[in-house]
Symmetry: C2
Subunit: 210 residues, 2 copies
DNA sequence: TGTGTCGTTAACAAAATTGTTAAACAAAAT
DNA sequence: ATTTTGTTTAACAATTTTGTTAACGACACA
């Protein structure tokens, strides 16, 4: 495979992700993707066979990328609070780049309910278990107010993901520009931690996106 | 307008809402809507002119419906905590019927950014202001740990809406059936209150949906 | 120089989706 | 009974979107 090929293929994937996951244009047509990438529409079929197959590839890639980061920060032997702070950091940062990624997955699942486990079961259930174990231990040791693992995880995911999913709504509610909202979300990492734990994070573990 | 007419028009709207807002099928075709309602596809154009215009009507109706309930429970002179409990109740109940309503709006805004304020500004900014005022008063009186109105509102909306938006994902993560997830969400109303206020709700103010 | 592979393009074909229209049909009014 | 009005239907037309194909051009290499 020549260099030009790899470049073009990567360019198309990149721009498709921008339309789907960044701009939230869930129904972008092959023509719009081609325009965004500045290439002929037929190339999409040349490289990916069909729009459908390209979508699956994009989802798998982004999902794998996110999962890798999440599992990485939840594994190891750091204290529970540091792990969760890391999770918040990773998930919010990912969402700052691809705010509509979750939205896209949900839409796909609803259109093709048979593919449901493709997106969730193996991937996220492992994540949930990683949190669950250590959470229950913390509660047992009296270091955290009792809460079911289900509720804790849903709280955490809600606080991290919703502000990205609902970006246009929340921006308008608070009268913010794109940039102001971006900053608001970066600052919010601490707030999420405080809301979930009822106390300040151990120390400054939160990063900015590159 | 005859009785048959009103009935058919209402039936189509009803079934369209089911497809769009309940089943999360954001791109349902006119044919699919007609099938769901068991009528001829041309009737959609007869009653609503075009798919686009029908959509706008559905959104306005559902938005008005939700807004009415929300404003109702946030107005008046009840204590802050009772109002917020009422808000949680209303929003979660609405979401149990139309889990993908917010999803749909966000998707529409991204496709037609010019219509953004149509959905948000007048409607929700008023809601936000209703909360903001009383929230700041509570903090001033030392009845609530200091938090910015923006963060409090985003926390509240996140905890209420995300579990509905992300229903298929969360169902799978926790290995729940549709019914189990429904029950989980009903129970969660209390958890949301506790997470936001750090203490139990005043008394049992939460209802079941009819 | 000739040959072949690969990337690219325009033009075409096929499918899906929306919108229109004329006619059939039913119910009510005259 | 017949006209009138409003509802419903099938058939058609237009548009949009996807998928295919044949030809063109560049580059490597014999």
């Amino acid at each position: 495979m020549s260099s030009a090929s790899a470049q073009t293929e990567e360019l198309i994937k990149e721009k498709a992700k921008v339309l789907f996951f960044q701009k939230g244009y869930l129904n972008a047509t092959t023509q719009e993707i081609a325009d965004e990438a500045g290439v002929n529409r037929a190339l999409i079929h040349y490289y990916f066979r069909s729009r459908e197959q390209m979508l699956e590839l994009l989802l798998e890639e982004a999902l794998h990328d996110k999962k890798k980061k999440v599992v990485e920060c939840l594994s190891g032997d750091e204290p529970f609070r540091e792990k969760i702070a890391g999770y918040i950091d990773v998930v919010v940062n990912f969402g700052l780049t691809y705010p509509y990624f979750t939205n896209f997955i949900i839409s796909e699942i609803n259109r093709h309910p048979d593919k449901e486990q493709l997106f969730c079961s193996q991937n996220k259930s492992k994540t949930a278990d990683l949190i669950r174990e250590q959470l229950e231990e913390e509660i047992k040791n009296g270091k955290l107010a009792p809460i079911s693992a289900e509720d804790f995880i849903v709280n955490l995911m809600s606080l991290c993901n919703y502000p990205l999913l609902a970006k246009p709504i929340l921006k308008t509610i608070h009268g913010m520009t794109d940039e102001a909202y971006y900053n608001f979300l970066s600052e919010r990492k601490r707030t999420i931690f405080i809301t979930v734990f009822g106390e300040e994070p151990p120390h400054s573990v939160f990063t900015s996106v590159s």
